[in-house]
Symmetry: C2
Subunit: 270 residues, 2 copies
DNA sequence: CGTACTCTTGAGCAATATCAAGGGGAGTGG
DNA sequence: CCACTCCCCTTGATATTGCTCAAGAGTACG
């Protein structure tokens, strides 16, 4: 049996250990994005320097000056309510995003109306990198719960990358990481059984939750069985059956969207 | 039925219209790569400025000075014989590559020895972009026929990107394009039937051949049925059956590795 | 000219999709 | 606060697709 850990290890996203709950809720009021450098001195709660999720937006060690420049670029945040879209396929590509609070799915819609989920993005993860190549977004990004993102105008980011080599390398790593993540998923879709896919999905989510400082054993799914199925190349009934099967085997404990991983070793060995 | 054209259109790789056959075969003798800028005045046949495949390595309009700098970076080519590896998973990541002549497959090998083909790369296409994120290669790149690649040291490329904005944007587009290409493949693996996958594979290859100036209707496959199957998430017998089925339907005409697309409309509508 | 690889085709089987029915929970309006 | 409705989830029965096992023919290369 193919170990699902191969897929697991393919996702090397850097995330912050904890999510700050002290962020000012009024900070939701997005400041308008501008293509000219905004005034420095960002509003408390929306700047990068004290953001708990900074490790996704910036390389490890930046000088105070460089940090201030990043703050100046990431000048707005945006609130997206559950079910609303952050962007749609075909939208002009201007910015990439970092999920600050909440959870998104990205969906490709075919001409025949058929939809496929291409990814789930939780707090601390990048969004929109696929738009760079064609000047327009390739998929819809839809919030699975009330969420907040940082808006990073891509042209300004490229300018910053020009001046700060560490930033340039970080961006390249983020993009390359996205390529590796997807090739891991391809492997999964190409070679794994339904049970292995569901197991790999849960383990992947588990490790991402852990990186954020949450329990890796117990969490709530924000997506439906249908969305999971679309992502994994399975029908919703099959996903449901696999959940039941893993539960009967004593590997996990599920109750609707609540998931408790009882034996991650066994889950990885499915 | 899902149209395979969605996958087709997802691949937006920029390729050159023709392949120069007048390149000096002796140019295969690779000059050693160096991390310090080599002397300018590159050997005829190995520099970028007169390479027919330049559109993959460089943005549309570069000044003579900028072109010279690119020539200076892409200082070596490498010959890889059929069956040999260009790089292996785990190798230290130093360079990206551009296929100049020939054809490669990229393969991920699992710990259990199971292999999966993650992509085929023909002349004019980039190779190795997935290594950026982790400082080491994530897959093996194996030549399917005697091939030649340009070696592009990534640190030098990043330096050039620093100075030439158009180059930076081009690199970002290449990487993002790789992300989009893979999400198209994911869609294929997740939603298409065996017949649709094979049809999409042929159409994709056809369009890439056309972009290179070859016939889009008739070409030789460099890969085996097993490699195609691995790439498409199918068994080799299934691939073979689908070829036969498409032939019976009068959509294609195959004889082993030789393929003739008789009705691309119908192929896309499968 | 032989050997090893590759491709084709058939028969039976296992995994997953499809069709169908019913239960449970969250949000909404009375 | 309760009842209603809509979604979402679960489970069963059946259909279909693609896989496995097997045999034999074609093809490339030393």
């Amino acid at each position: 049996m193919t170990s699902v850990l191969a897929y697991e290890s393919a996702y090397k996203s850097a995330c912050a250990p904890t999510v700050s709950s002290k962020a000012n809720p009024l900070a939701y009021l997005a400041r308008s994005a501008t293509t000219s450098p905004p005034p420095s001195g960002a509003v408390a709660g929306t700047n990068c320097s004290d953001c708990s999720l900074h490790s996704i937006c910036m390389p490890a060690h930046l000088s105070a000056t460089e940090l201030a420049r990043l703050d100046a670029i990431v000048c707005s945040t945006r609130l997206v309510r559950r079910g609303e879209t952050l962007y749609r396929a075909g939208d002009k590509f201007k910015s990439i995003y970092a999920v600050r609070v909440g959870c998104f799915k990205t969906v490709i819609t075919h001409r025949d109306g058929h939809e496929q989920v291409t990814g789930f993005h939780i707090a601390g993860e990048p969004l929109g990198l696929d738009g760079v190549c064609s000047d327009e977004q390739n998929c819809d990004a839809i919030a699975l719960e009330d969420s907040k993102v940082c808006v990073i105008p891509f042209d300004l980011l490229e300018d910053l990358c020009h001046d700060v080599k560490a930033m340039q390398q970080h961006l390249h790593r983020m993009m390359s990481g996205e390529i590796v993540r997807e090739s891991g998923l391809m492997m999964m879709l190409g070679t794994m059984t339904a049970q292995q896919r569901v197991a790999a999905f849960l383990l992947n989510l588990s490790s991402r939750m852990k990186t954020r400082g949450y329990s890796s054993a117990e969490f709530n799914l924000r997506m439906t069985r249908e969305e999971i199925g679309s992502y994994l190349g399975l029908k919703l009934e099959t996903v449901s059956r696999m959940f039941s099967k893993l539960q009967q085997a004593g590997v996990i404990d599920t109750n609707g969207k609540q998931v408790h991983i009882l034996d991650s070793e066994k889950l990885a060995g499915v």
